[in-house]
Structures are given as structure tokens and as C-alpha cells.
Amino acid sequence: METLFFLIITLVAIVSAILVTTCKNPINSALALVMTFFCLATYYVMLDAPFMAAVQVMVYAGAIMVLIVFTIMLLNIRVDASKKHSHKVVLGSIIGFFTLVNTAFIVIKGHVASPNGPLTGEMIRQQGHTELIGREMFTNFLLPFEITSILLLVAIVGAVILAKKKI
């Protein structure tokens, strides 16, 4: 059952990903991307990471996608005017294919290390994923976490300055 579910999700994810790259209209691409994001969120849930799934939906499917769609509408670009793809489709596909081959080869050939951390599904369900992440975040990763705030601040300022016509 779970395997079937996994396969369906995988199918959806891959198809929508392909749609992202192939759709003529950026809006369609964007919608397909949202679909992919949701599939990924599903994966996260299946991987006992509900908090990540929630954040995935909120940040990606919510914030970022809204931003992208806004931009698309703001710039009012519907279709790629001349050619949808550049002429390098074949070459690009080859490179993509080799990327896939490489990674797949690593995944298949290499073997993943056996579990070594304290985290188990049981533990997550007992303590709650959010709490685990939160504890980790505000203890071991406090400094990087704070730094991200600066990063975001810089991004805000940068975005404002860049997008303004005249400063």
C-alpha cells in the first residue's frame, strides 16, 4: 500500500517536474512547480518530518510561489515569444541524462551508512518533530539561525533597492 502510494506520488512529482520545464506559459510552469512542492511535502510526511512538510508548503508553495506568480503577472509575460526552448535541448538533455546516470550510479553502487543517530520514528512520534527541530535549532544551531536573520534582512534591503526604479 505504502509502496503504491509512494509510486503514485513519485509519478506525480516527476510529471509535474517535467511540466515545469516544458510548459510554454510560465504560469503553467509555476502551477506545476506548486504540484511538485506538494509531492515533496508528502514525501517529508512519509519520512516522519511533518514540520518540514509544513514549512515546505508554507515557504515554498506559499511564499516563494506567490512571489514568482506575482512577478510573472507583474511583468505580464505570457509565452516565450520566439522559440520556447533554446536550440540546445538535445545537448541539455544529454547533460541532464548524464547527471542522472551519475547520481543514480552513486546511489545504486554506493551503500548508505547504517543508522547512527539517536533518532527513530518512535522517538519522533513521542516527542514531536517540531519540538525536536526547535530544540536543535536553538541550541546547537543558534548562531547560524541568527545569521539567517541577517541574511534575510540583507535580502530584503537588496530586493527593495534592486526593484526600485530610482533610488
Binding site: I68, M137, K165
Partner: protein, 100 residues
């Protein structure tokens, strides 16, 4: 729960599709979306391995990736608007000033 390898394969496939998109599309926004797709593929790897190894670090990392992605989206889209204001286009083939 599926074998971790399945997730990694899915991630690889998504990543490759994203790569192809980045390399073949001309619309900067679509390229941008493909980059997001690649990022997400990597995120999936992180989460899957984190779960498999029983270590939360990977998921924390995903959190940071998302932060960066958000910042990137803000700045990147601002760049596109700025570029559009200049050139009335967001076609990457019109961007050729990155040379000496």
C-alpha cells in the same frame, strides 16, 4: 517506510529534470523555477538521509536551504524586475553584459 534509496533516486530524477530546465529554457523566471526544483531535490535527499541516519542535522540544513531560497527568490526576482525595466525582456539571451 520506503527504502532510502528510492527517495534518493527520485531526488536524482528531479534534480536532472531541473538541470535540463535550467540549461534549455530561455525565460529567466522558468529557469529560476527550475533552480528551485533542483534545490528541492537536494532537500529531499537531506531529509531522506537524515531520517535514515537518525540524525536531525540534515533537516536543520534543509531549513537553512529554505531560508536561502527565500532570500534568493526575493533578490533574484528583484533582479529580474530591474532587468526587465531596462531591457523590456527577461530572456536570458538578452543578458550578455557579463563579459569584459
Amino acid at each position: 517506510m520506503e527504502n532510502v534509496n528510492s527517495y534518493l533516486i527520485v531526488s536524482a530524477i528531479l534534480f536532472s529534470i531541473g538541470t535540463i530546465g535550467v540549461l534549455t529554457r530561455k525565460n529567466a523566471i522558468v529557469i529560476f523555477m527550475c533552480v528551485e526544483l533542483m534545490l528541492n531535490a537536494v532537500n529531499l535527499t537531506f531529509v531522506a538521509l537524515s531520517r535514515h541516519l537518525g540524525n536531525l542535522d540534515g533537516q536543520i540544513f534543509v531549513f537553512f536551504v529554505m531560508t536561502v531560497a527565500a532570500a534568493e527568490a526575493a533578490v533574484g526576482l528583484a533582479l529580474m524586475i530591474a532587468f526587465y525595466n531596462n531591457k523590456e525582456s527577461i530572456d536570458v539571451e538578452d543578458v550578455n553584459i557579463m563579459k569584459w
